[in-house]
Amino acid sequence: MILKYLLEKEFKQFRRNPIFPRLMVAFPILIIFVFPWVTTFEVQNIKVTVVDDDNSTLSHRLTHEIENSRYFNLVGAEPSYQLGLADVEKGTADVVLDIPRDFEKNMIRRSGSNIQISANAVNGIKGNIGSSYLNAIVAQFATKIASEHGLKVQPAVNVITQNRFNEYLDYKKFMIPALITMVLILLCGFFPTLNIVSEKEIGTIEQINVTPVGKASFIIAKLIPYWAMGLIVFTVCFFLAWLTYGFAPQGNVLLIYLDAVLFIMFMSGFGLVVSNNSATMQQAMFVMFFCIMVFILMSGLFTPIHSMPQWAQDIAFFNPPRYYIEIMRSVFLKGSNFMENWFSYMMLAIFDLLINFWAILSYRKQS
């Protein structure tokens, strides 16, 4: 059995590599302990500047309401809108709340009062969510004043929102499966990419090519260590997430592992395809850098796929990490079963077959 000897070689080389084993340890730690604190869109600490032209009891009460909200920090008061805007330009404020003259008078007379909310929307999500939070506070305030003055407003229909699967809207819960994906993409993608092309540059591949070794055995022996590495890293991340944040999968653990195995097989096979088709490590690395950016940024990992334009969604259809992440989130967070994800599993399996065949075919022993 030739495979045995090849595997011995690959595992020894992996263990002796000065960098690989260290990254295998460093990555899960970073991913679980550091990055969940970074990858948060939770909008908070929005800096508000108030331009209070009314200077009345009611305007002070409104200002006070905002100050007390957990989303906003009142950073200052400016005498004019222009100066408030200047604060936004300097970056000391995100939102300017402009309370007009006669604000109190108009409210009490029920003739309606306008206030203006101006949000820095360069970061769309922050501008959007920030201003809608501020709107909500203003609305609450208005209802309060209305009831104080005996004005009751009855809506025609109630709208109630129920958040499923992540009731407390915990962003870390959403991101941890995605971050584990990112580690697998990086480790199982880059290590194999460097493998064959570095044997080409060093020249050792020549000694292998002149032996009767089978293409498939050679490639499979290269792949197996990465599968093992991927599964170990995956398991470690999984346990750390559980120990640190108490996040346990809602669904069947075996389904999650099936997903991970399929994905790890895809990434390592992909790495070898790039490696086989590159002449130098530099080339291999740049190509992989490009592909990994696509894998990460177009898979729904950070930003949702349905927000993309149609053509980009079409590309994402052929982006295997997308299916892996969909299954991860679906089984891990929602607790869905196999049948609810069969399409994603099938897509991953197809990609696996194609890419690993290609990996074997693209290894050429004769030039």
Binding site: F41, A121, S132, V153, V157, N163, M281
Partner: protein
């Protein structure tokens, strides 16, 4: 001086001869900026809505049609049983299920207030918040509900500054620029220099009578040229394809970006003086630059959301300063005076990194 020029010419020749790598170096950033400029977005769009209405009537029908006609939502179907609701959410076929309760049979009659329950897949908390806000608004509008119950008492007007149409690209493209320039410039320099070390041609150069500083300089010139070319294509594509404004000074923007490129090249040089093999140089430029830049620079995730200690760490990530400054000049159209701090930080980093790598380089020679 003449020797210097011939050196530089040799380096140019050396790099430009490798057509395949050149194609990658020039073509890749172009594809990336277009691809990601369009694709990275967290606009509320194409959100899939299903509904459950045991007492289906005209009002619901019209409302559903109205939701579907909206850019934000696509109505994907009707749930006939309560199990359907679960299934639609669990299988990911719908992001929201609108549940119209039985009071809808008496809609409009006095004393009855029917309820719409929006059951949302809240795995992604922000999208869930935005989706529910917008959908609630659509429903309120339809039934002419007073928005949030404020009545005519108080009408808030919202102005979204600098980005009135809420383009995600305004936020993300400066980040993508910062990421691409940093990683490509640093990787390209570090790998090529380490490669020369590995192959041994570096030693040959270093024993030649020319001064090592000169050699380093000659090596950097072609990479700087390629990087500037990349900068130009990225800017052109951002403006003409991605339709980003250049609201501030173009010259100022370019000069600032060139400073940033110089810093990225210096980073590459530093990595190459420390690392011995191409593999390690690549892994370090990749893991050490790609991940932190993507996550800690504010490219996707705002820096101010991070815990204080990570905010401190992000201060040493050059891309953070680059992105802030580009957003200010390019999108907000502020004068160059507004980014003095960023210029100073990038400039300071450039001096420190160059100094460090030259010191390392010399030490290796002795």
């Amino acid at each position: 001086m003449k020797k210097m020029l011939s050196f530089i010419r040799k380096e140019f020749y050396h790099i430009f001869r490798d057509k395949r790598t050149m194609l990658i170096l020039i073509g890749m950033p172009m594809v990336q900026i277009i691809l990601f400029g369009f694709a990275i977005s967290n606009d509320v769009k194409n959100v899939r809505v299903a509904y459950y209405a045991p007492h289906y009537n005209n009002d619901i029908q019209k409302l559903v049609a109205k939701i579907d006609a909206n850019d934000y939502f696509i109505v994907v179907g009707k749930c006939t049983t309560k199990e359907d609701i679960n299934h639609a959410l669990l299988s990911g076929k719908a992001d929201i299920v609108a549940y119209f309760d039985r009071d809808f049979s008496k809609i409009g009659k006095k004393g009855s207030t029917p309820t719409v329950n929006l059951i949302i897949d809240a795995c992604d908390p922000n999208m869930a918040t935005m989706e529910s806000t917008i959908l609630t608004q659509v429903i309120n509008d339809y039934f002419k509900n007073p928005a949030g119950g404020t009545g005519a008492l108080l009408v808030p007007h919202t102005r979204l500054l600098y980005n009135p149409s809420m383009e995600s690209s305004y936020n993300f493209v400066p980040g993508i620029m910062g990421l691409i320039l940093m990683v490509i410039c640093a990787m390209m320099t570090s790998i090529s220099i380490v490669r020369e070390k590995e192959v041994g041609t570096m030693e040959v150069l270093l024993v030649s009578p020319s001064r090592p500083m000169g050699i380093i300089f000659a090596k950097m010139v072609p990479y700087f040229t390629i990087s500037c070319l990349n900068l130009a294509t990225i800017l052109v594509l951002s403006v003409f394809v991605l339709k980003l404004p250049i609201a501030g000074s173009l010259i100022g923007l370019i000069l600032f970006a060139m400073l940033y490129i110089a810093l990225a090249l210096a980073f590459g040089l530093l990595i190459s003086t420390i690392m011995k093999t191409q593999v390690s140089a690549m892994l370090v430029s990749m893991m050490g630059l790609l991940m932190p830049t993507m996550l800690l620079s504010g490219m996707i995730y705002p820096v101010e959301n991070m815990p204080a200690i990570l905010q401190w760490i992000s201060a040493v990530i050059p891309a953070r300063w680059f992105i802030t400054a580009v957003r200010k000049v390019m999108i907000q159209g502020l004068p160059m005076a507004a980014i003095v701090k960023e210029i100073a930080v990038i400039g300071g980093m450039l001096i420190i990194i160059t100094g460090l790598s030259l010191k390392n380089f010399k030490k290796r020679l002795e």
